[in-house]
């Protein structure tokens, strides 16, 4: 018999609805898998087995009572620790929020519970979602379940910032997980770990109750085993929320019901600027393979140009830190989170530590190095005399990047590109050089800056035996075309590789 933990969202939901197994059996199986794996993978910051069991009992009771079950009925998921969860510590993987227990539930997590999902725990991530390898978490690195096929045991990065999410889904210790994507934080970790993840159009999922990083870019989305599971879970997460001023007041389409891998009549654009000099040969080959798969599905493939691609990443690294420096000003040691009171006498000219000393000491102790770096960059580019040269110029370039996409989508329906320039790298390989780390998101950031739906689907393994992802980018509000093209690739890639259980 198949292990319950091998099942994804649709299989679990259908099995619970059909009575093949109970939701409690599923929750117990995943709780046990989490308990066995987490000491080695460090994917969860806290585990919440009771939350998963309580949700499962409710679903089983609903079924016994003959009630209609939700789209996520009986599905145990991991919740990225950026979503506020009532009564359960929410840290953004930071020291400054350690011990913070929200008295409220984020809109997205509440919608998932309403749809019948249960929570296995809060997933590790890069601190305040700033990072591409999950090495900036205050609670330690997440270890990818994947290893290179060279017989070595070098620990690999699960990607970031949603590294706990990607590791947990890839390791089969969560049926699915929430992620958030500011500049690739769903797609890059999904690609690194051989799973599927979609960032919907900006505004589809409410940001209410999600710890803010860069508000004009932050967007939640599902990370799951396959395209169908992503479509089901996105449907449960999305929807208008009056509590988020940027929430889209649009009906949520039945993405899962409308999935269709027949791409006849669909035009797929291949952006020539993404084919960079010195591109990884395996990545280039998987991209070519993806083009062939989409043609096989009936799509017409055309060459397109996104001329400002090269400037997306530097624009992002002005805009995102600028917004972060403003958003993170709220961590003041007064209303919630850490407070550090320096010793009397260490302040500037006063006998005891004053309010300003407390702010500065609290933030020095509470933020990690990468977070400080970004706050300082953001503060600098927003400061008097530099605002126009940096921030205004970056927002102009951002407008040009969005215009590039608008023009491209006059000629095509969906864009195919690699998700990342390489497969997963080893922990520690890039952490000494912030710029080298940033370059990981070179293919992911443009769609973020333009607010477009974008997805990563597994395409195959590279010569080291590590997963590679292909990225699909669609028009604003057109998640369906992205999911459909993703499904066409998934059916042809037949990706069923999974990491060996070494933990």
């Amino acid at each position: 018999m198949t292990e319950l933990t091998d099942l994804g969202i649709k299989a679990i939901r259908d099995g619970v609805v059909g009575g093949s197994f109970t939701a409690v059996e599923v929750a117990e199986a995943f709780n046990a898998a989490v308990a066995a794996a987490n000491p080695a993978l460090n994917a969860f910051i806290v585990t919440t087995p009771d939350h998963a069991l309580d949700a499962a009992r409710r679903v089983d009771a609903q079924r016994s009572a003959g009630e209609t079950l939700g789209a996520m009925a009986g599905v145990p998921i991991g919740m990225k620790d950026l979503f506020a969860t009532k009564g359960v510590q929410t840290t953004a993987a930071s020291h400054i929020l350690e011990g913070f227990v929200p008295p409220y539930e984020s809109t997205v997590s509440q919608k998932l519970w309403d749809a019948g999902a249960g929570m296995l725990g809060k997933l590790n991530l890069d601190q305040f979602a700033m990072g591409s390898s999950n090495e900036t978490s205050y609670f330690g690195n997440v270890i990818s379940p994947w290893r290179r096929a060279d017989g070595g045991n070098a620990p690999l990065a699960p990607g970031g910032s949603s590294g706990g999410s990607s590791a947990a889904v890839a390791a089969r210790i969560a049926a699915a997980a929430t992620g958030t994507d500011t500049g690739g934080s769903i797609r890059q970790p999904a690609a690194f770990t051989g799973i599927t993840g979609i960032k919907p159009t900006y505004g589809r999922c409410s940001r209410w109750g999600v710890v803010a990083f860069a508000s004009s870019l932050d967007q939640a989305g599902p990370m799951a085993r396959d395209v169908t599971d992503c479509a089901i879970m996105l449907g449960a997460m999305a929807g208008f929320d009056p509590k988020d001023a940027t929430s889209l007041d649009l009906p949520v389409p039945d993405w899962a019901g409308a999935l269709n891998a027949d791409l006849r009549g669909v035009k797929v654009g291949i952006p020539r600027e993404y084919r960079m000099d010195g591109m990884d040969a395996d990545v280039a080959a998987s991209w070519d393979q993806g083009i062939a798969w989409l043609k096989d599905a009936g799509a017409e493939v055309i060459d397109i140009s996104l001329p400002h691609t090269h400037h997306a990443l530097p624009a992002y690294y002005i805009i995102a830190p600028a917004e972060a420096s403003s958003n993170l000003a709220r961590y003041d040691g007064v209303r919630y989170g850490l407070r550090e009171l320096p010793e009397p006498g260490s302040g500037s000219g006063t006998s005891g530590a004053g309010l300003q000393d407390m702010y500065a000491a609290t933030r020095a102790a509470g933020f990690g190095d990468e977070v400080k770096r970004r706050i300082l960059i953001g503060t600098y580019v927003l400061s008097a005399g530099f605002y126009d040269a940096y921030y205004t110029q970056a927002q102009k370039v951002r407008a040009l990047i969005a215009r590039d996409f608008e023009r491209a989508f006059e000629r095509c329906d969906v864009i195919l590109a690699p998700t990342c320039p390489t497969a997963a790298f080893g922990l520690g390989e890039k952490s000494a050089d912030p710029l080298a780390m940033y370059l990981n998101d070179v293919f992911a950031v443009p769609a973020s800056l333009a607010g477009l739906p974008a997805m990563s689907v597994p395409a195959g393994l590279n010569r080291e035996g590590l997963p590679l992802g292909l990225q699909l980018i669609g028009r604003a509000f057109d998640e369906q075309s992205v999911l459909n093209a993703g499904l066409a690739i998934e059916q042809r890639a037949g990706f069923n590789a999974k990491p060996e259980t070494w933990w």
């Binding site: 624009a315 690294y317 919630y336 000393d357 933030r363 110029q393 970056a394 370039v397």
Partner: protein
């Protein structure tokens, strides 16, 4: 443009992050690397381009002008608001002395 130690100290002060000399010395070259790299945005011709203000066009809504339109974010929840404060006092947020 590049930053020196004095500038980084000023930015850190603006950002309310205490940094000692060693931390400042570490940060200066890191920030300069990043700033030198983002410098390339200057080469993009943006004449006639308006800076982006909203990534997806959306209209700003007004909520109904009623008390406690959303009970969660309305009033009367003092204890919940203070529940995570590191130093609440007498139903208020406690702060270090502000005035001598």
């Amino acid at each position: 443009m590049s930053v020196d130690k004095e500038t980084v100290a000023r930015i850190a002060n603006l950002a309310r992050i205490r940094m000692d000399d060693a931390a400042l010395d570490r940060m200066v070259p890191e920030l300069n690397n990043i700033l030198a790299w983002v410098e390339q945005l200057g080469e993009v011709d943006c004449s006639g381009v308006e800076p982006m203000t909203a990534v997806i066009p959306n209209t700003l809504r007004l909520r109904d002008d009623v008390v406690n339109a959303d009970p969660l974010t309305g009033g009367g929840v003092r204890d919940a608001v203070l529940a995570n404060a590191p130093a609440p006092e007498h139903g208020f947020f406690g702060v270090p002395k502000v005035i001598e």
